[in-house]
Subunit: 490 residues, 2 copies
């Protein structure tokens, strides 16, 4: 651990980049645009995965696995999908290397694939090509499948977690007998994402639908959860798509209804990715480092003994070990940092940087007084807590912190959400107090495009909870039925 | 579900292929050599993953994630590694597609990568290139990291689970300050694999080391667990490699010792893959379908109600629901198949095919007698069990089956393990009673090669538990110190 982070107020973007690396979350690899997710970062991702996976299974889904590669021709089958996805991607053209006379390695020109393979940027095509064989009658429906996988999109400008060439995600792909059921599934899953974001990541989100231009390539409707980062920029954190019969038609997937009629199957797909790691980091962290909601912290509590020799350490351990045991029996994850190679001050800074929610410092004098210093990471407040009460205290504190971190993020979001009625005011707010901006829009792609070009702000979503409100588009003055949410976005 | 499987005795290989597909475990995809792992098959893999992951974490490892792609030049750095791995692999040469005038998709010739990327066949090179930056001093060691990932090896002849172009696996990659510690880790992990194979997969294995010719490319020593399938062919089920300082030297990874001396780091790597699914299937299953050890069955118990109308089904449910609840509270996974679209006989066959360990049939008359028919999948035995005892009975039965399935496989292995002293006898046994053959070998690659060419049998391992026994090589008559295990292998 070297010196501290740059301050958010000085350079938010640099602060993020430094934090990701210094907190041991991820780093750039030798392969352009691909990241290495380090053990501590991956442990957070595993916590996310475990909870999401549970929520998917609780809503009736099962996991499966589909190929990494997609034949090039598959992308041609769904017209709008190809434009959205088949452009910037990794293309496998050969299947063998050979050694040259100079003992170097080269691609064997004799091992060229007849049809190039695309490393999946998303799996709708290969999955619907597979579903074709799984679905004959209404009895085979619904299919409720999820996949945890890596995907590749050849991004030119990458940032750790936020935009990388390879990333990890889950993609749900469901097949239904009716339109209504597919829409219900689409909505159910965006709600699962919202619940996860708010109750686990402690990150408030707005649920809404995307405009035509921001919609997933191949979808009829895209639902999104949008979060607001500390710099006032929005981050799309999860999407759920109602695909209509588009992919069923592209891959000729029909089924026999109860009434013995042939119909195309209805579909949804939905996904969240390691991008959530970026959202988590930027939602709560501060100038000292990571702030993690306790539910997603790999270790929720760390004990730092303050000692000068082995005798002191042993005396501390003797008193601390039963406390650790009691905490663990309540399902709380604990570390006890006995390293003598680092001083306590160094350790304190390290655990602040890594976002351990609760830190307990115990020295020889504390053993006498029977009171230990408990520091909470979110507010940095310290309390002295009696040994007899500390287990209960920490358990309650973790719950309290989970709520406090959410509330803080929610208040921040509300403070940086503005209602705006003129385009001038809109631009001014974007400059002076960026955040979500609720404004009227005439519903055309032209106006949306114009605003984007002139201000870099985009329509994040048409919120599902928005009230009907007659108004006039802030740009064209044309009539509008409800406000939409604008923001600059990651 | 169509008609039954072909018999093992008629065509073992076809039986396996049919079983994998009909039991809904996996199927071939549209991409040559790549499989789709179906939800039921994937649920078994998830059970394997969960237990292995727990065992890795219990032995101090953490998970991380490294890039899918490896720069071509990395394979040149470890001389023997390149021959073993960089040949048959998927090569990414371009990063963009474009649409032609005829609205077709083609690879954009302007988007050629400067250096080709290889889809990882294994990750030693990219990981050791990363570790270089993680390791400066002995304080940074050991690194105990595992990765769950997909890998690609361009196999020409593929079979579901056993040999596919893409497969799922885990790969542990550890770095140590001393040779002894790295060897200890290598052995620890092969023992973890053996414990998993025997106690979870109910599959007895032989632990041993590989000969020079069968060793992992880049390893100093390869430990293996070898299982014996029902057709008498061996299946290598997991390997753990002591890599010496080979990769540290190739990627220049040095550390400062406590004594402030610079030294190369010592390494191990170890892995198991979805190949274990093939091993599991072939170890226990029969002509009716899959036989699963209860610890790895996605659903351990299925209740099949026998009913003619909703009233009967409701009456059955009323009595069965509390039993299901009681079973679940003991951590037992249960399904209750209320479908009225299929007859009980059809369902029985389906659950036998899919290897549900315990099936309980309940009809209206059983409600009166208060006794239910409990069928166990491994022996197909049925018992009538009183309602009041059924929860306890099933819990015990599942434990008993786990042991019985292991014992059956172990007896079969012992019955097909032979000690042989002449080459003629060796060939005869291979024809008539294939299995493990313990024989003396002179320790040379030439003799090993000759035996392989003449009989297709290979040395599976030099077993670690073999007793020292002076003897003569069955082929050359040269002296040998111990018997090694031969078999034909998958």
């Amino acid at each position: 651990m070297s010196k501290g982070l740059i301050k958010r107020s000085e350079n938010y973007s640099q602060w993020y980049n430094e934090l990701v690396v210094k907190a041991d979350l991820a780093e750039n690899s030798a392969v352009r645009g691909c990241m290495v997710i380090k053990p501590y970062g991956y442990a957070i991702w595993e916590k996310m995965q475990a909870q999401l996976d549970k929520m998917f299974k609780d809503t009736g889904h099962m996991n499966a696995y589909f190929p990494l590669f997609i034949p090039k021709s598959f992308f041609n089958k769904e017209a709008s999908h190809v434009d959205g996805f088949a452009k910037e991607c990794a293309v496998v053209t050969h299947y063998r290397l050979r050694t040259t006379e100079n003992n170097e390695i080269e691609v064997d020109p004799n091992a060229k694939l007849e049809e190039e393979l695309i490393v999946r940027p998303t799996s709708e095509t290969i999955i619907w090509n597979t579903y074709k064989n799984w679905i004959q009658s209404y009895r085979d429906l619904p299919i409720l499948v999820n996949q945890w996988a890596n995907v590749v999109r050849w991004e030119m400008r990458t940032r750790l977690f936020l935009r990388t060439a390879e990333f990890l995600w889950q993609e749900g792909h469901t097949a239904h007998a009716t339109k209504e059921e597919a829409i219900e599934e689409t909505k159910q899953m965006i709600n699962v994402y919202a619940e996860f974001a708010e109750n686990w990541m402690a990150m408030p989100v707005k649920i809404g639908t995307k405009t035509d231009s921001e919609r997933f390539a191949g979808a009829v409707d895209t639902y999104t959860i949008e979060a607001l980062m500390q710099d006032g920029k929005a981050l799309q954190s999860g999407t759920s798509h109602f695909l209509g019969q588009n992919f069923a038609k592209a891959f000729d997937v029909k089924f026999l209804t109860k009434e013995n009629k042939e119909e195309y199957v209805w579909a949804s797909s939905w996904g969240v990715s390691t991008r959530l790691m970026g959202a988590l980091i930027m939602s709560h962290s501060d100038d000292l480092g990571l702030v993690l909601p306790p539910k997603l912290a790999p270790f929720q509590v760390v004990f730092v003994p303050i000692f000068k020799n082995d005798d002191q350490l042993n005396a501390i351990s003797e008193r601390i070990d039963p406390i650790i045991k009691a905490l663990k029996s309540r399902g709380i994850t604990v570390q006890f940092d006995k390293r003598d190679s680092q001083r306590p001050g160094f350790k304190f800074a390290e655990y602040e940087l890594k976002g351990y929610p609760v830190r307990v410092a115990v020295g020889p004098r504390d053993l006498e007084s029977g009171q230990y210093e408990v520091a909470r990471r979110d507010t940095l407040e310290k309390s002295f807590v009696a040994e007899s009460e500390i287990v209960e205290y920490i358990e309650n504190l973790l719950g309290e912190m989970q709520t406090a971190i959410f509330n803080k993020a929610k208040i921040r979001r509300e403070e940086t959400t503005s209602k705006v009625d003129t385009y001038d005011e809109f631009k001014k707010i974007l400059e002076e107090k960026p955040g979500f901006i609720l404004a009227h829009w005439d519903g055309t792609a032209e106006t949306e495009e114009r605003i984007k070009n002139e201000t870099k702000a985009t329509i994040r979503c048409i919120p599902i909870d928005s009230e009907k409100e007659e108004g006039k588009c802030m740009v064209t003055g044309k009539p509008s039925k409800r406000r939409v949410i604008f923001a600059k976005a990651y």
